[in-house]
Symmetry: C2
Subunit: 229 residues, 2 copies
DNA sequence: GACACTAATGTCAGTCACTGACAGTTGACA
DNA sequence: TGTCAACTGTCAGTGACTGACATTAGTGTC
């Protein structure tokens, strides 16, 4: 069934043209992230990025729809991992637990995948720029809500619900997403950039949701119980 | 006590120059919102808006830092009312209840204030454009997080906490904000654009937070109790 | 009421993100 | 080797936004 010369299958070798494209894309991503992390987003022009890879500005825009897009290349990778992890959770697990476990359990794998693309340290520097650049922060939040929408649909499907009829899937993911973002901010604001520090932060923040929403904080000032089924 | 010709106090009359500025600003807002609601955000250029008010493009940018800013003029007004309402909540009230009551109780007043600036119906059409335009949605979310930050600080102060040390204020507002956004979306997606419809939606969504975060949904599928003090 | 002072505005030139059109180059495949 | 299609570069143009400078128009003064 498989001829030798032609590319019948999809895997064996992508062909010179495809490999060249891949190389150009990677080079653009790396150059862009390095420039953004160093100079900041606003002070990095698309011309700079293109020049660093020695292609025309027009070519940059053939690979990325916008300057923003290249800044979120790594985030995009991470997000797809989370979605995958949520999809693979065993049925019957409680909704909040699905999200919690999916994020926490896939965390190490995510960081591994990122590292294969760019140094984790570079990604962190870029993340700080994202958090501190209004235009990028806005884009980040919009992307986050798109991800939340996808997760809400998955949760709804697991529970056999209609996302547009029952508000709970979206409410759960919105609350969850908000908490994750608090963790992200604390992570990028602190000085421990390790993956495990981020996981600890997420755990802590998630453990606080219930108590924070519950009545008077002064009657239960500290966090006493952690795990429930 | 009151002189006639000159502006002695600060209130009586702002002077011709100031009144002209106010008129120009209002005209720009109204023209912009009308154009955005009708043609959409992307198909409305700043030149269009300026031309509609018969001023130069440069003047537009002296009143608004960006094209986005004019689109959020009404939202900004509403936000300031919410902040005010949260500030005025009686001490001792539970944090989540502070937010809930502040939003719900000030809702009618907010809509009144908005109506004085532009027709409520126009604001709703603009809101739909905001929700459906990526660039505006992003800006909307960023503004929302800025508001959340402010609210977190107020809550922290009420409770005598340090926002950067105790994560609960930010977690609470993040979860709360997420839920409010779900309500906003359902409101703009539906067909009842009245203020009371929005209030009902918010109430319902807030009532669902607890149950949505709690364990297994199938054991408590419906929402049975609504009001507590 | 003429006069200086200053804030508001218009005009102009320039940067930067992004796009469509067209032409040149280069892998892919017979 | 030659044809075809995909990639790329160049160029021109739009639209958001900014700085510089000249012009206009309220404001307070004599």
């Amino acid at each position: 069934m498989e001829t030798v010369g032609t590319a019948v299958g999809a895997l064996p070798r992508p062909g010179l043209r495809e490999r060249k494209k891949q190389r150009t894309r990677d080079a653009l991503v790396r150059a862009a992230l390095e420039l953004i992390a160093t100079r900041g987003y606003e002070r990095t022009t698309v011309d700079d990025i293109a020049a660093a890879v020695d292609v025309s500005q027009r070519t940059f825009f053939r690979y990325f729809a916008s300057k923003e897009e290249v800044a979120f290349f790594v985030s995009r990778l991470a997000e797809s991992h989370v979605v995958e992890a949520v999809r693979e959770r065993p049925p019957g697990e409680a909704p909040l637990e699905v999200l919690r476990r999916a994020v926490l359990d896939s965390w190490d794998g995510i960081n591994e995948a990122v590292e294969q693309l760019v140094p984790l340290e570079l990604h962190m520097r870029v993340y700080r720029v994202i958090e501190s650049t209004p235009a990028l922060l806005a884009a980040h939040l919009r992307r986050a809500t798109e991800l939340e929408e996808e997760l809400a649909r998955i949760i709804a499907e697991r529970e056999g619900l209609d996302v547009d009829a029952d508000p709970r899937p979206r409410i759960l993911v919105a609350a969850f997403g908000g908490v994750i973002r608090v963790a992200e901010r604390r992570w990028s604001a602190g000085d421990d950039f390790s993956a495990s520090a981020m996981r600890d932060l997420m755990t802590t923040c998630l453990d606080h949701v219930g108590p924070a929403l519950a009545g008077n904080w002064r009657t239960n000032p500290a966090l006493n119980r952690h795990n429930e089924t």
